[in-house]
Symmetry: C2
Subunit: 295 residues, 2 copies
C-alpha cells in the first residue's frame, strides 16, 4: 500500500490495451486497488487480461461498472464518448470517471454530456507510452517518473481531483493540472506533429522503387529507424488523435512547413551559415530534456 | 589479431572525432593496426586522443601521413578535399586512402583530383553513429553488426578494395559495394531527410512562446524527444551533408511535401479511412527493420 493513499474498492479499466493494462498493473504494484475489473470489446483481450492476471474480472458487459469507485476510459479517443454512454447507466454515486486519451477537448466534449450528474468526470493524459498495443504490451513501470496531465473542468470537485491525483502519483507519475485547450496545443507539438511526420516519412520511403525499399531497411541506422519506431504506433489510436485535435495539429504543421521551406531554400542556394546556425540552436533543447530527466 | 587479416603498419586517422576515434579504438580491439596516428586541427582533440590512448602519435602536422599504409579521412564532408590536399605530398606509394563521409559523390569530386596517382582512393561510409562528437565520444563497439558502404570508382584496384573491406569487417561491419550516386540517394531518405526534419521540428518548437518551450521539454516523452536526440547532432557535419547532397535531399523533400499535403488534407476534411490506411502500412517497414536486426 502506498503511504497515505486509501485504496479504491473497485477500479474499472475500460479498454485493456497498452495504457489500460499498464495502469492496472501499476495500481496493483502500488497496492491502491482492492479489485481491478476490465471492460473491452475484443474477446482475445478479455482472455489475455484474465490470463496475465491484469484484471480480477473481465468481460464486455457494461454492468461491470457497477460498484466501481474509479472508472478509467483507456480506449482510443474517438471511442471514449460511446464507451462512456454504455457504462453510464451502471455508474455508482460519487464514482470518479477519468480517461487517458491523447486529446482532451474532444474527449470532454464527447464524454461529459453522456455521464450522470452523480459522478465526477476529470479528464487526464499520462505522457508515457510505447509503439506497442494490446494487453500483453502493458507493464507496471510505464508511468514511473513520467508526467500525467489532468484537465478538470472549472468547478470540478476538488476532493475528486485530489483523489485522482494521488492515484497517478501512486503509480509513479508527476501530476500537472492545466486547461484542456492548453493541453491540446502543447501535445500537438510534442507528440502529435512528431507522429504525423514520422508516419509521413516512413510512408514516403514505402513508395520508393522496390529495390530501394530493401535498402531503406538495411541502412535505417542512419536516423530513419527512430522514425519507424514512432510510425509503428497503433493506427486507430493515431487516426483518432488527428481527427480530434485537427486545429492545433494543422496550426503546428503550418509552422513546420514554413520552417522547412526556409531550410530547403538555404540548401538550394548553398547558404551554409543559415544551416549551421539553425542546427546549433536545437542542441539547447536537447540539453533541457536531459536536464529534466525525460531523455 | 583478427584471423587472416594482415595488420596495417601505420594507420593515419585524419580528424579524431566520434567516427575517427571509434575506428581507431575498433582497429586496436581487432589487433589489425600496429601503429595508429591522429591528425587534427584542434589542439584539445589532439591532447585527448593521446590522453585517452586512442592514438600512439597525434598532431596537426600533415607529415604524420608519411609511412601510413591506411589513411582515413574522418573530417566533415566539406573538409575532406582540403585535408586530402594537405596530406597528399606526404602519402606513401601504395597507401590506401579512404573516408567515412556521409555523402559520397561530393567527397570523391573533391578528394580524387588532389591525390597523387601512386595511392588507392576508395570512398566509404559506415552506417553507424551517435549524436555526440569529438574524440571522447568514440567507442570501439560503434560498428559492431552495422553496415559499411564502399563506393570505389570504376577501375579501382581490386586488392586495395578487398584489403579495405577486411579492415571494416575486422571492426565488426558488414560491407556492401555500390555506386556513389546510388549511395547518395539511399542515404538521402534513410538519414539526411530524417535529420533535416528533426532539426526543423525541434527548431519550430524553439520558436514557440517562452512558456510553451518549458512545456515542450517537460512533455517531450510523447514522441518529440526522439527528434531532439537526432537534432542534437553536430551542426557542422550536417551543414556539410546538406550542402553536398543537395539534389537528392531536395528530391526526397519534395516527395515528403506531397505526402504531408495528402495527410494534412485528410485531417482537414476528417477522412479517417485514409489516415488509418496510411498509418497501418508503415508498421510493415518497422517489422522489416526488426527482422534485419538494425532496430
Ligand atoms: N499508446 C500510447 O503511447 C499512449 C500514450 C498516452 C495515452 N494514450 C491513449 O490511451 C488510449 C488507449 O491507447 P492504447 O495505446 O492503450 O491502445 P490499445 O493498446 O489499442 O488499447 C485500447 C483497447 O481498447 C479496446 N477498445 C477499442 N475500442 C473499444 C470499444 N469501443 N469498446 C471497448 N473496448 C474498446 C481495444 O481493443 P481493439 O484494439 O481490439 O479495438 C484495446 O483493447 C488512447 O486514447 C490513447 O490516445 C496512448
Ligand atoms: N556522426 C555520425 O553519426 C556519422 C556517421 C557516419 C559518418 N559520419 C561522417 O564522419 C565524419 C566525421 O564526423 P564525426 O561525427 O566524427 O565528427 P566530429 O566528432 O566532429 O569529428 C571531426 C573531427 O575532425 C576535426 N576537423 C574538422 N575539420 C578539420 C580540418 N580541416 N583539419 C583537421 N581536422 C579537422 C574536428 O575538429 P573540430 O570539431 O574542432 O573542427 C573533429 O576533431 C563526417 O564526414 C561525417 O559525415 C558521421
Amino acid at each position: 500500500m502506498s503511504a497515505g493513499v486509501a485504496p479504491f474498492e473497485r477500479v474499472l479499466i475500460a479498454g485493456i490495451g497498452l495504457i489500460g493494462s499498464s495502469f492496472a498493473l501499476a495500481l496493483r504494484r502500488a497496492g491502491v486497488a482492492k479489485q481491478i475489473v476490465a471492460f473491452d470489446h475484443t474477446p482475445a483481450h478479455i482472455d489475455e487480461a484474465l490470463h496475465l492476471g491484469i484484471a480480477d474480472e473481465a468481460g464486455n458487459d457494461p454492468a461491470l461498472a457497477a460498484g466501481a469507485d474509479l472508472v478509467v476510459l483507456c480506449v482510443p479517443v474517438g471511442a471514449c464518448g460511446k464507451v462512456a454512454a454504455k457504462l453510464a447507466p451502471h455508474l455508482s454515486e460519487g464514482a470518479i470517471v477519468t480517461d487517458v486519451g491523447s486529446v482532451k477537448q474532444a474527449v470532454i466534449r464527447d464524454v461529459a454530456p453522456v455521464l450522470p450528474p452523480h459522478v465526477h468526470f476529470i479528464a487526464g493524459h499520462p505522457i508515457a507510452g510505447t509503439e506497442h498495443s494490446g494487453p500483453a504490451a502493458g507493464f507496471a513501470e510505464l508511468f514511473d517518473g513520467r508526467h500525467c496531465i489532468l484537465t478538470p473542468a472549472e468547478g470540478a470537485n476538488p476532493e475528486a481531483v485530489a483523489r485522482l491525483q494521488t492515484a497517478w502519483e501512486a503509480v509513479g507519475s508527476r501530476v500537472t493540472i492545466m486547461s484542456a485547450e492548453h493541453h491540446d496545443r502543447v501535445l500537438a507539438i510534442t507528440s502529435h506533429l512528431p507522429h504525423l511526420i514520422a508516419y509521413t516519412i516512413v510512408g514516403t520511403a514505402t513508395d520508393l522503387e522496390e529495390h530501394m525499399q530493401q535498402e531503406v531497411i538495411k541502412y535505417s541506422a542512419g536516423g530513419f529507424r527512430d522514425f519507424t519506431r514512432i510510425a509503428a504506433s497503433d493506427p486507430v489510436m493515431w487516426r483518432d488523435v488527428f481527427l480530434n485535435n485537427r486545429e492545433a495539429v494543422l496550426e503546428m504543421l503550418g509552422r513546420l512547413h514554413e520552417d522547412l521551406g526556409l531550410l530547403a531554400r538555404a540548401i538550394r542556394i548553398g547558404d551554409g551559415a543559415t544551416l549551421e546556425e539553425k542546427f546549433a540552436t536545437t542542441r539547447a533543447i536537447r540539453r533541457g530534456i536531459i536536464a529534466a530527466k525525460q531523455a
